[in-house]
Amino acid sequence: MSSKILMKGNEAIAESAIRAGCQAYFGYPITPQTEVLEYMARRMPQLGRVFLQAESELAAINMLYGAACAGVCAMTSTSSPGFSLMQEGISYIACSMVPAVVVNVMRGGPGLGNIQPSQADYSQMTKGGGHGDYKVLTLAPSTIQELVDHVGLAFDLADEYRQIVFVIADGMLGQMMEPVELPEMRELRPPPAWALTGAKGRPKNIITSLYLNAPELEKVNQELQAVYRRIEANEVRYDSYLLEDAEIAVVAYGTAARIARTAIRRAREAGIRVGLFRPITVYPFPYEALAEVAGRVQEMLVVEMSAGQMLEDVRMATCCRVPIRFFGKMGGVVPLPEDILAEIEALAQGKPAMVAQKGA
């Protein structure tokens, strides 16, 4: 029997992490994700697990790194300016191949920006962000139930690939409430053999991202790239809605996708054959699946709460085989269903130009 409870997105993130076996949480307050930290502050000590409010996001990501080196499931959460500060540590963790989970509840930027929902960290999350050749598996939920599911999944994927995994949300998902079904509490797993637990009964373990010898570092990079190829082969996730007979495909993820669904439903009522393609993993991006969609529809509409960052991936996927129109909102402005509906209607009426144009 399922029993649903009403939960705020940020609190759902925290509770889901706890149930997935998160043994340590390190964080720093930043709106609009601070409730994750506050929830952890109460719950983790109750369970005899580690909670620590760091002095900065730099410290938080490095505390996470330290705990991850000990082989425990550990997480931090932050929002855009804090996420920028974490890039140094993320690059080190990526190279060191220790599992860890980072949740970014995005807000408007650049700079201090504001505290409204945004999707403008897409490129930073999916194209590297820090220095060096690395990628981070990034899950993009669009409901609070999915947020719960993805946080649990993120811990599994982090362990499987010995990599850092991102869950990408935004201020709207963090702050809204929805009924959710929570998973059972998992047992804490023992530390893996590579972990730094004291070299009792075994040779010492070293975790490092330093390889002064160039061919040796190239080999490490090749190993990392092999992991990314495995992730790209096995972990592509996407969802579609009313796409079977669609002539127009809206491409959107996260909050933008759920608003687009409402617009699509209304457009369908008006007789427009439109559907939604929603990447769930934004790295690895579902290039092949979207290319297949591009072969079936006449037009595409990309909707983002940014100036068009995913748009570049959509163009790569479709190789410009289909006209792409872009609709984006920036600075924490959330698109309304009517806005997206108007774009769909404009496309359906064959106007204006079908060529993709950046900017809202």
């Binding site: 505390m63 705990a67 004291g198």
Partner: protein, 257 residues
Amino acid sequence: MVEAEKQERIVFSRPKALTDTTTHYCPGCIHGIVHRLIAEAIDELGIQDRTIGIAPVGCSVLAYHYFDVDFAEAAHGRAPAMATGLKRVQPDKIVFTYQGDGDLAAIGTNEIIHAVNRGENITTFFINNAIYGMTGGQMAPTTLPGQVTTSTPFGRDVRAAGYPLRVCELMATLAGAAYVVRRTAINPREIRRLKKAIVTAFKVQMAGLGYSLVEVVSNCPTNWGMTPIESLEWLEKNMLPYYPLGDFKVAEGVENL
């Protein structure tokens, strides 16, 4: 008993906690002495199988090759934050960071201050040679007034570059600090004192008393442009007056260890 039948007694050998890897340190540098003393302390305390070290960025970046204990390599200055994460999830382990002055007193000032102030049960060995060694001899926060470096070619002018940072004096003001001392390794007497401080610092952690930090006033023959002997003489004459040796914080309970 004839001479050949006398039992051989080993009076000096490599500590178990030190590997037989050849180090990359410059001739005459104190890093090697400090490494050995830390390894000896680990052996004597019997903690090799539950000690985890964190290496810094800088000359001692490869410390993990030299110690035979579990080791992680931190980003520049972030060792105390990493050590905090490691120790918080494994409170029964002995966690130490090994950091230079650029690492601890410049880029990592925030991390060290807050880790000490939280009273993290970890130990830091802080090697202060008043210069950036790895990058080729630039000014460090600890560079003395008037000292010539590649980035203070006319000598450190405190009006432009500020004053040398006295780390022990600063850390001793923090409530979470249990043991903060400054030592050096310029002669056998000082080496014995340093060894005792290193053992005490680990004991402080083992007893759960709070943060322990041992600063070692050190040398850099290569970047100071001196012979090893000259560098020790320069250290004694110029550094020790600004960085006096001594105990800056010895919390209650430490003396009984």
